[in-house]
């Protein structure tokens, strides 16, 4: 049986776009619901301190503690000299 390629592909277009949209609309709906629930029951705490921490931890992850120590020492000796 000869298949009409165009007819078939138009069907795919309909199937595909409606499924993609169904998926994403549902996702939008769930995400907004989820966001409301989280905002209400698990409001995020202020994290300023944690970010300050973070940049230090990033340094230490690179194994640069020695460098940090050297800088600290240099700053300290500078301050003492004042």
């Amino acid at each position: 049986m000869e298949i009409n390629l165009i007819a078939e592909s138009v069907k795919f277009l309909i199937l595909g776009m409606s499924t993609v949209f169904m998926f994403l609309v549902l996702m939008v709906f769930v995400l907004e619901l989820q966001s409301k629930i989280i905002m209400k029951f698990f409001p995020p705490k202020k994290e300023e301190d944690s970010t300050a921490c973070n940049s230090t931890s990033e340094l230490s992850r690179n194994g640069n503690l020695a460098v940090v120590a050297a800088i600290a020492a240099s700053l300290k000796s500078y301050k003492q000299s004042k």
Binding site: I3, N4, L5, I6, E8, S9, V10, F12, L13, L15, G16, M17, T19, V20, F21, M22, F23, L24, V25, L26, M27, V28, V30, L31, E32, Q34, S35, I38, M39, F42, P43, P44, E47, R61
Partner: protein, 433 residues
């Protein structure tokens, strides 16, 4: 030190003496046929590339298939020239060099006569069978992409995901286009499977394209991957005219509200939520979406930094090298220099254009129904091509109003486009299962 070596030799002599009886002399060279020096030079000349290019042989088998004499000589030279052109574009023009360089080098290697590097026993063929046929490499890349992607902008304004949905029109519209070409041109003949594999170029996502093409149309993989990455690199040229043609000056100047902050918990839950939806609606998309979600989940969990850093660095880099070379192996002339390739190149451009238009038009439709206006310039970012397409949206927006920063707003549809394409891929894989 000399003493040490002498001792070593001594020990060895002892050992060999003890078992010397094993060494019975026999004729080990039976396979070898003696040749005169001129015969040796002759057969060496016969195994040069020069000879292979100048006197192609009928019925020569390469990479497991018979190759036409044209594809043995001129075809290979054309392919090498194309690979060199890709090198130029990657290095001088900055076209997605991370993937185009390995792909083009793989293509160059695959077109070397005699060596059969892309054949089942060549190293490109081995890499291909190990990681592309199995689908492993694109999924590992997707893990790394997940570990690198911040879905925050999407979470801050979820409805922009719809723009990423509309941009998938590029995929399905192109399938229709491919069917059209097959029906009405005399020399291009795509099967439906092949049409679907070509359409996925419109997803503007390398790993998704490669994953789908390796399943639906492995012989077109090279052309599809090259087209996908080339057009991704060309996004700053392809998209702006379409974006400007479809929008008014006022629309392009729309300012969007600042994005709210997204909590850590929302980010952690996001990959799980997407997975659950994907399991319920479209399990066939779960390998792709799952890999992406895994990478993102490990990253956002924050408790396994070692793993997420590995996924976005050494693992993705190693796999990128292997994947690029493997995909390049499909640029062998006998696979690439077919009329279908021309169709793929034309259709790939169509796919990007339709995806862009889809996203922009969807934004205009949304503005009809919502009071929170969306700048339609961010619609084009729905095609993915992360983060290039979002940058294009930003740049176009700043052309109209230098103070209008759209980048973060465009990242929402941009990352949604990745999910949208993976869903579209799942649908196509499901149809042809």
């Amino acid at each position: 030190m000399k003493k040490m070596i002498l001792q070593l030799l001594l020990v060895l002599s002892l050992g060999t003496y003890l078992c010397a009886s094993d060494g019975i002399k026999e004729n080990k060279n039976q396979e070898y046929k003696s040749k005169s020096v001129s015969e040796l030079f002759g057969s060496l000349y016969e195994s040069t590339g020069l000879n292979a290019f100048l006197s192609p042989k009928e019925g020569e088998v390469s990479h497991g298939v018979v190759v036409s004499t044209f594809n043995q000589s001129g075809g290979r030279l054309i392919m090498m020239a194309i690979c060199f052109a890709l090198f130029y574009l990657a290095i001088a023009k900055g076209f997605e060099p991370l993937l185009l360089i390995p792909i083009a080098f793989g293509g160059f290697l695959a077109n070397i006569p005699i060596a059969d590097i892309a054949g089942p026993e060549g190293f490109l063929g081995i890499l291909f069978n190990m990681g592309v046929s199995t689908g492993l490499f694109p999924l590992l890349i997707f893990m790394g992409v997940g570990a690198m992607t911040d879905f925050g902008p999407l979470l801050a304004n979820p409805k922009t995901a719809l723009l990423g949905g509309a941009a998938q029109f590029g995929i399905f519209g192109t399938i229709v286009g491919a069917a059209f070409l097959s029906q009405y041109t005399g020399f291009i003949d795509f099967s439906l499977k092949e049409a679907a594999a070509i359409g996925i170029i419109g997803g503007a996502d390398g790993p998704t394209s490669i994953f789908v093409a390796s399943r639906l149309a492995p012989d077109l993989l090279g052309a599809i991957a090259v087209a996908a990455y080339s057009y991704m690199a060309l996004v700053p040229i392809i998209q702006p005219p379409i974006m400007r043609a479809l929008t008014t000056k006022e629309e392009r100047q729309i300012k969007m509200e600042q994005l709210r902050e997204v909590s850590k918990l929302e980010k952690i839950l996001f990959p799980i939520t997407v997975m659950v939806l994907c399991v319920l609606l479209l399990p066939d998309a779960t390998p792709l979406v799952g890999a992406l979600a895994f990478g993102n989940f490990v990253k956002e969990s924050g408790v396994a930094k070692r793993l997420s850093e590995t996924m976005e660095n050494s693992l993705i880099n190693i796999v990128t090298i292997f994947l690029g070379l493997s995909v390049g192996s499909k640029l062998a002339s006998e696979k690439f220099l077919v009329p279908e390739t021309l169709g793929i190149i034309v259709l790939g451009l169509v796919a990007f254009a339709m995806g862009t238009a889809g996203g922009v038009i969807m934004a205009k439709i949304m503005n009809k129904f919502s009071k929170h206006k969306v700048n339609p310039l961010i619609g084009s970012a729905g095609v993915s091509a992360v983060p290039m397409a979002a940058r294009v949206s930003n740049k176009e927006g700043m052309k109209e109003n230098p103070s209008n920063m759209l980048l973060m707003h465009a990242m929402g549809p941009n990352v949604a486009g990745v999910i949208g394409s993976a869903v579209a891929a799942g649908i196509l894989l499901s149809i042809f299962k």
